[in-house]
Structure formats: structure tokens, C-alpha cells
Assembly symmetry: C2
Amino acid sequence: MERTDKIEKPDRPVRASRAPSRFDMILDSVRRLLRRGAISHLERMVNKMHPADVANVLHHVYTSQEKRTVFELVKVEGNKAQVLAEMDEGDLTEILADVSSTEIATLIQNLPDDDQAYILTTLPDERAQEVLRLMKPEESAEVKDLLKYEPQTAGAIMTGEYFALPANTTVQEAIRKLQSTDIGNIFYVYVTDKEEKLIGVLSLRQLLGSPDRTLGSMITKEVISVTPETDQEEVAKQVARYNLLAIPVVEKDGTLVGIITVDDIVDVMREEATEDMLKMSGTKIEEEDTFMTSSVLSAVRMRVPWLLTNLVGSMISGLILWTFRFTIQEVVALVTFIPVIAAMGGNVGLQSSTLVIRGLATGRIELSDVRKVFLREVSIGLIIGLLCGVVTLAVASVMHINLTLGLVVGMAMLCALVMSTTMATIMPVILKRYGVDPAVAAGPFVTTANDITGSAIYLGLATAFLSYLK
Amino acid sequence: MERTDKIEKPDRPVRASRAPSRFDMILDSVRRLLRRGAISHLERMVNKMHPADVANVLHHVYTSQEKRTVFELVKVEGNKAQVLAEMDEGDLTEILADVSSTEIATLIQNLPDDDQAYILTTLPDERAQEVLRLMKPEESAEVKDLLKYEPQTAGAIMTGEYFALPANTTVQEAIRKLQSTDIGNIFYVYVTDKEEKLIGVLSLRQLLGSPDRTLGSMITKEVISVTPETDQEEVAKQVARYNLLAIPVVEKDGTLVGIITVDDIVDVMREEATEDMLKMSGTKIEEEDTFMTSSVLSAVRMRVPWLLTNLVGSMISGLILWTFRFTIQEVVALVTFIPVIAAMGGNVGLQSSTLVIRGLATGRIELSDVRKVFLREVSIGLIIGLLCGVVTLAVASVMHINLTLGLVVGMAMLCALVMSTTMATIMPVILKRYGVDPAVAAGPFVTTANDITGSAIYLGLATAFLSYLK
């Protein structure tokens, strides 16, 4: 038997070590140099770093003053602009507060238009206007085109700088044009007609074929595209599904207005996943950018609305307990299982709702799959309910030497879990049908809803069987 | 004033409509045609679809039989192979169960090696061996190289098919080689020395410069790379941070062994985000692939470990209530706020831990930021605690006409919330330091921990002030 024939397939993925990263070490040095005031040393270090790393360092140093010191140390203007383009919104606001509008206009001059637009949206309105007036008219016109789209749509994240040629261009001509253009990332050549309507696409690779053919004879005509109004989450789904490097943005009449490249899609995917997670934990719209930079008070403002809703919800649970206080007083052993039934209902519900919400977000679950998913989750709830029901039945019977109590607790557990998987599966779907982001239906919401139904079922059952319980 | 001068910046992003998607409509047609047995109609439809859409349809049709019917309708062999490459693990297992090893070997023949490796890992070991033996020796050798790496590392997701040339190649020669190679996605030209050590990289774009220069004179020498052992999450972070289209995988001695392209990174990012969300909801390793395809029983097996842990945890909460039963019996009004304090502690904790876990995963929070984040979250806990404390104080005092009760409830709320933000911030960090994925510290874990401390604080306080409460 050959030795290499054996496929090593470890049972469970073993994660690589999570020791301090390379970046953590860079950060430590920067902080040390800042503390020691070793500016010339720091300057040498910063100017050897990748702009993305500088932006990341800026995010992690402590004070605004330190951020500005580090930023001003970047000497090459192009790099300084790159650093701005890589920065978070919160950090940009802090840094740019001290930079003059003239300097901003000069700095961002040579950035791609989507980066310019991004930086401008982080400025207060009047300042953005001022910077726009200070830019070259043709540049500012392009940026204004992008700024008119709603945030988080294809239009807002696209770039107007793409490489498009007419269909009768020969390959040779196309290559010559390619050599003289100053457009940055080119993955595809877009072929348009006289009215700038997109008629096809070909990859840079395909260009290197026979030099005398025209582009029109080589293009793929079925182009996957989005409209400027498409939500960025949907754009990301398309790019991921079809393994694209860039997706064209096309008006309803077929006019090509921009493209979105995969590197921006990577950022969108991260942002959307973060947004969903935070929503699921009941933090309304605290964005990734504001993990550390937003003030404590604004963070509180973002979290409080959901918390107050849940405060009301949990008080309803409390009222239910209060309503059943005579039952509790007569059989005080019942209190032992109040948190057990509430917690398990919440937990099982959270699992179901997370699965459904994430499935809907990634497209692994479509609205038309709902019946299948529903039956599946309820079956899971039933099995887990039986299992946990038996365990609690046993614990309750033995602990309080009371089989009836055990039966009541076990039955309540079973009902609560089936109920909670049911609600947790249905709620996100209903929300999605009505155009509300289903992510808000997880976390605190599910937990609170299950607290209420769980307590009601449990104490309702206990009251019904009260005469046997005593 | 110019009209175009006004930047429209809507306050809050408005989401595009969430009406049935284009894909949902495709799916409906397929299901209808399957039900009606309109196979020839279906065949025409399937063969006009993008392989990624076919794979997605396969995921959503109901039975294994239907999956196989649709799959067999794909007539072009290359497309059929593409469909396999785009399919989920669970779906692949179902489909391939019925396909002979010879056919699998023929089908996957012309796929890139990373796709071949992916498909083989979904087969049972003996079958994978059989398929490997049936493949051309040079093909199977390449795939075996990839299969020896641990899942979810750079080595396991890379492709050995990249475009590398020696430094003394001229641009003209490079372009000629590019025209004759059959490697699919080429974004960069890698330049290696005689021992296949990576010495530099240049983009396809740069190649179109002066034809007589050698590659060696044009390359960027500081190449961002990963080793085969690097965790895929870390690979994704690097690609996202530096906006790369592909990242080279290099052994510790500098030998280039493969590359990972950005389209695969997009999949990794989605997978990792899903994994984290499911972990945070306490579903151990139910992967994205298994949203709907895994059996109910295997789903139960994945969820039960955490649930049982939490069952024990919630029983500890229950025991605490039982311990304080005399207090509860004497002042039964106390039961009203048991769920309130437990739920709010859990919710606030969930918000903090989600923020920390996601920050650590995306690199927005580094381990060295911990003190800052900790102070921030605890301040937030304090403010929210004061707020909710005052509200519950008011409600409790008025409802039970008992100011002392109100004070006890309010104080307990404040302590519980500060405690819960503290624990929720520290736990993920400690886990990460010890190499455990911090995502497991959220959801049920935090909720249960806070249930316990919340109940203990509340009833402890109540017992201490019992004489004033009555």
C-alpha cells in the first residue's frame, strides 16, 4: 500500500494558535515610542508601514492627539491619502477635524472616486461642500454623482472609474488603451454601445488572445449586474454566488454607471455580518466603526431602546409570577424550576432563530423553504423538549420527593421548548415578509418572549394540578 | 447656489425591498416543473442556468430523488463539474452517493485542484481513495498534496495552480506564456528563484509595460503571504486588510506552495461569520452547509451539549431560589422581579460579549485594547444599571407600595448589570488568551452565568434587608 494514499482527515478542525498577532506587536512598539516621545524613530517606522496598517494603528492608539501625531508622520502624500481611505468613519472624523479643507482637497485628489466619496460622507455637510468646491471641477462632479445615492446601496459603494470600450475595438487597440489608462483595478473590459449601454464583458485574460479580433466577437453577453438601488447585502450575495471580481452597476435602461470591485465586497460582507450580530444581541445600529471610538453615552443611547423594551417584557414575566403567587406560596418548591424553564426556552429559541436569520441572510434559506425549516425546527424542539423534560422530571421528583411536581415540570419543559422553537422560527420569517430585518428578532427579543410563555405554561400547569402537588 | 451642490445624506440607511428574489422565482418554477414531471421543459431551463444557480436549486429542492433528477439533467460535462464545485457538503454527499467512482473521476478531471480536493473531502474515505486511483496520476498527486493539510487552514483551501516565472523572464516571454497556460484565474505573476522560493510579485496590469524589461526589475519584493498552517480566518483578515486579489502560501523556508484567491476568501468570510453566530447561539458546529440538509437527529446532537450545560447552569439558579425560599415566602412580592433582574443581566451581558467577540474576530479590538474596552463596557453597564435601577425602583415601589422593596430591587439591578458587563467583557478575552474561540462565551453561556449571579445578588440583598421589607 502506498503511504501517500492515506487521506488525513482530522475529525474536528484544530484552530491555529491565538497568540499575539504580528499586528499586536507593531501596536505595542508604536505605543511605546509614543510614550517615550521617540518621534523620529516612530516616523521611520510609520513610513515603512503599509497604509492599511497605519490606519489600523490609528484605530488602536488611545487619544485623538496620538492619532493626529501618527497621521502627520506619514510623509508621502499618496500614502497619507491611502491611510485616509482605509480608516474607519469614527477615526476619520477625529483626524479630519484638525485638517484644513484645502489640505483635504489636495490629499484626496488622486484617490479613486469611491474612496473620495467615502471620506466626504464622514465630514459635516458644510465642510464636505467646501472640500468639493476646492477640488478640480471634473473630479468633484464625479464624486457628487456617487454622493446622491442612498448609503448601503450599490450606487453608494460603486466607482465610476471602469474600463469600457466600444464593440468594434480590436484586441490590439484595447491593449494599447489599457497601457495608457490611469484606472487602478481592472479585472474586466466592459463593452458598451454608443449610448453607454452595457452589451457585454470580457476578462483581462481573454484579451491576450488573437490581436486582430474585435472585442464584440469575444464578449460574454449575459452579464450579471445590479442596479444602483440594489442593497449592498444583495450585491455581496451575487458577487459571492457567481465568484465575480467586479459587478457592473447598470441603470434600468441598460446604461452602465459604475462597477463594484470584490475588495469592496469583502468589506461589505464583514460589515453586514457585524451589523447582523449586533442587531441579534439587541444593540441597535452600533456600527463596526464605533467599537471603541464612539462615546460611552452614544453607545448607551444605542443600546437602551431594546433594553427598555425588554425591561417591559420581563416585567410581564414578573407579573405572571405575581399572578400565580398563591400557587408559589403553597408549593414553594416550584420556584426551583422557574429559571430552568425560562432559560431553556430562551436558549433553544435562540438557536432556532439564529439559524433561520443567518440562513435568510446568506440565502441558504429562501422564504419558500419556510415550511420545511419550520417542521424541522419544531421536530428538533420536540426531541430536545422530551430529553430535557425527562431530565427535569427526574431531578424535580428526586429533589423534592414529589412525582407530580416532576411530571408538571417535565411537561412544562416540553411545551415551553416546542413553543419556543415555533416562535423563534416564525418570527424572523414574518418580519422578513414585511420588510423588517429579521436579525432584530433574535437575542433579547426571543429570550423575553420565551420567558413570558415559559412562565405562563409552567405556573398555569402547576395551578391546574395544585391539589395533587401539595 | 448650485442645485447639485447639496449632498443628500439620508439619516438612516433605508433598506431595499425584501420581496421574493429573482432566485426565489427560479426555485418556484423548478419545483412546479418537478411536481408536474415536465422533465424536458426542466432540462431546457436547467441547461440555461449558471452552474452556481443549479447548485443553489439543488440545495433547495425537497427530496434526494429530486436533487438527483435535477443534477442528471445538466448535460454539458464541464457545467456538471462546476455544479459539484459550487455545492454544499451536505448536498454533495447526497448527490454523489448515487454516482459511480469512475464517473466522479471523469467529472472532476478538469476542475482546479482546490475544487477537486473539496469534493473528495465530502466522500467517505474508501470512496475518495478509489476516485483518486481512477484519476490521472499527475492530477491525483496534486490533490493529495492539498488533502494532507488540516481543514480550515490556508493549506486546505489553497490551489497549487498559480502562474510563477523566473526573474530573468522578459515581459514579452511572460505574455506568451500567459497565452498558452491553462491556469484559470490569474491576478498576479509570482516570481520565484531556482528553488521555487518566492522573491516577488507583479500584477497582470504591470505586465503590459515595456516588453523588453525582465520581471525581476519590476517586482514588488515585500510580499504579504501566509504559511500553509495559517488559520483560514487569519487569511481572510489579511486579504481584507490589504485589499488583495490573491495571497501566496509560502512554507517557512520561503518555498511557494500555492495561492488563495479572493473568491475563495469571500466564501471563508461567510462561513466564519456563520460559524461565529451559531456558536454564539450555542449551536456547536452545525455548519452553514447543514442548515437544512442534515438530519434532525444530527442537529439535535449538535445542540444538546450546550443545552445540557445550560440546563445544569439554570438549575444552579433554581437552587439559589430554593435556598432563599423562606425569604420568598415571607415577601412573595419579590417573585415579581426575579425574571426582570435575570433577563436584564443576560441581555446587557449579551450586548457586551457580542461586541467584544466580533471585535476580536475582525481585528477591530486587539488583545492589547482590552483595558480600554473593559473600562468602556463597565461604564456603559453602570449608566444602564442606574437607568434600569431607577425604573425598577419606581415600578416596584408603586406596584407593591413598598419603598424598601423598590430600593432593594433597584440596587440589585444596578449590581447585576455592572457584574454582567464585567463578566461578559472578560470571559471572551480570557478564552481567547487560552486559545479557545471566544464565540462560545456568548449567548446561552452569558445568559446562564448572569441568571446565577443576578438571582444571588437580588435574593441576597433581599434577605439582608428582610426585616425592613416586611
